[in-house]
């Protein structure tokens, strides 16, 4: 397996209170990792450490070593790391700034000074992938929340990064749109992309990701396959909920096959 993300003994604090405390983590190519944990556990901070936003854009006390695709995040600027890692933030309204859907997708490609034909090809390809092609001349402000989230993802994917990071992608989506988004992410993962997603909804993770990390108070409390990690009753101590799918299968009567309690 090829290691794409390597974190060694990472400590980080914005002020005096530590946010990440001794994180050691290795993520291989092709993994689909879900990171969950209570509010303030350091999930988003961990994500920002993976693409160099920490320490370059968000200041604080940073100790340890983070490298992505063999590049140390200390040594490379965020814009340089963006060739290998793309991030989609929680709120698409804060990242979409163009007045046309197509310009938003083209933005990252223009920054890379790609030829005009290649930019057009990728804009068309990724807008079609997310069903936004017919709206390419529209103002992104007129899109629904789900469409905006897809546009933010399309804009990141158009850079064709090795690793995709997502911060709570389903937080502003209804259930149907969230399921649709995860289906796209799963397809991308099957096509070889490495994905790390911070999520608050444990039910979204069970059938989609290949590995789950539980973070609490800046430490990794659990790491393993989703069904094993998320069915452990101890996760309720961290303020997390055992997903219904796993609770239901536990309550299934082996003789009748019916779910007694869910």
């Amino acid at each position: 397996m090829v290691e794409l993300i390597s974190i060694r003994n990472l400590h980080f604090s914005y002020s005096k209170k530590p946010v990440l405390r001794g994180i050691n983590l290795s993520i291989d190519k092709g993994e689909f990792v879900g990171v969950i944990g209570p509010v303030g556990s350091g999930k988003s901070t961990l994500l920002f450490a993976m693409n160099g936003v920490i320490p370059h854009l968000l200041g604080g006390n940073f100790k340890g070593e983070v490298s992505i695709c063999g590049m140390s995040t200390r040594a490379y600027k965020v814009s340089e790391l963006s060739r290998s890692v793309g991030i989609v933030l929680q709120s698409p309204d804060s990242q979409i700034f163009s007045l046309k859907v197509r310009d938003e997708v083209a933005f990252a490609l223009e920054n890379r000074k790609l030829p005009r034909e290649e930019i057009e090809r990728r804009v068309d390809k990724y807008l079609k992938l997310f069903g936004l092609h017919s709206m390419k001349e529209e103002d992104p402000n007129n899109l629904s929340e789900g469409q905006k989230q897809k546009l933010a993802l399309a804009s990141t994917l158009a850079m064709e990064p090795e690793v995709i990071l997502m911060d709570e992608p389903s937080s502003s989506l209804d259930f149907g749109a969230a399921v649709e988004l995860y289906a796209i992410l799963k397809d991308l993962n099957n096509a070889g992309r490495t994905i790390v997603v911070v999520e608050h909804d444990t039910e979204m993770l069970v059938d989609n990701v290949s590995r789950v990390l539980i973070l609490k108070d800046g430490k990794i409390m659990s790491d393993g396959p989703p069904k094993k990690v998320l069915s452990d009753p101890r996760i309720e101590r961290y303020g997390l909920k055992i997903p219904c799918q796993l609770r239901c299968s536990k309550g299934k009567n082996t003789k009748t096959g019916r779910v007694d309690k869910c």
Binding site: V53, L57, V78, L99, T156
Partner: protein, 226 residues
């Protein structure tokens, strides 16, 4: 909304660079030729330009909401300072501000942000500054929406805007959300390969026959007026 309003008017078709030159020219006349007659002619010209651009004048009044009341402030101040001639000077100052705002808004309504950015870069405005200007234009309507939301939520908790006190219950949350949004935007831009120290803006604007004509007309107008 304080954004580009797509129309197929002659003003919309004018190149952004020519539009910026004419905007500066008009503002220059306003500042230099300060007389009541010039202000009246200028106001009429502004109304005509809005008409040609197919944008209702009330659009700008709606966009600025109660902010337009500040335009009337000079009248009040001048009348208080000099009750005899204050009304005349006050109206002059208000008309001056009104025209500056209306003509500037018209250029925003009729020009795409991308074209403004390219035009500023063409005029050798530092790329960082040009980018800041265009991002600001893009986010103005979002801030306006945010301010409306904050105003409603504070009103629901019994807050009443008083002209005698600082509107801190509106300013503080607006500042907080703007800073958060700015931080998130910076993260998102740099994560998509944007390097603030090395901004690359390709100028793809092309001058048409009408633009050349307008450019020729500009020195003639300057000569005639001065």
């Amino acid at each position: 909304m304080l954004v580009f309003i797509p129309r197929s008017s002659p003003i919309h078709r004018v190149d952004a660079r020519v539009k910026i030159l004419y905007l500066l020219f008009l503002l220059f006349i306003l500042v230099v030729k300060q007389s009541f007659e010039v202000l009246i002619i200028f106001s009429l010209l502004t109304i005509v330009l809005y008409h040609i651009a197919n944008i209702p004048l009330k659009q700008s009044f709606e966009d600025f909401g109660t902010g337009w009341l500040f335009i009337l402030l000079p009248i009040l101040l001048h009348v208080l300072i000099n009750p005899q001639t204050g009304i005349y000077t006050g109206v002059m100052s208000s008309l001056f501000l009104l025209n500056i705002l209306l003509i500037s808004l018209l250029s925003i309504y009729t020009t795409e942000v991308k074209s403004i950015l390219q035009a500023l870069v063409f005029f050798k405005v530092p790329s960082e500054l040009a980018f800041i200007v265009t991002i600001s234009i893009r986010f103005l309507p979002l801030m306006q929406e945010e301010l409306d939301r904050i105003r409603i939520s504070q009103a629901l908790r019994g807050y009443e805007l008083s002209p005698l006190s600082l509107p801190l219950p509106l300013i503080v949350p607006l500042l907080h959300s703007s800073l958060r949004r700015a931080m998130e935007l910076a993260i998102s831009l740099e994560s998509r390969g944007f390097d603030p120290e090395n901004i690359h803006v390709a100028v793809e604007l092309e001058l048409g026959a009408a633009d050349y004509l307008l450019l020729l007309l500009l020195p003639i107008l300057l000569f005639l007026l001065f």
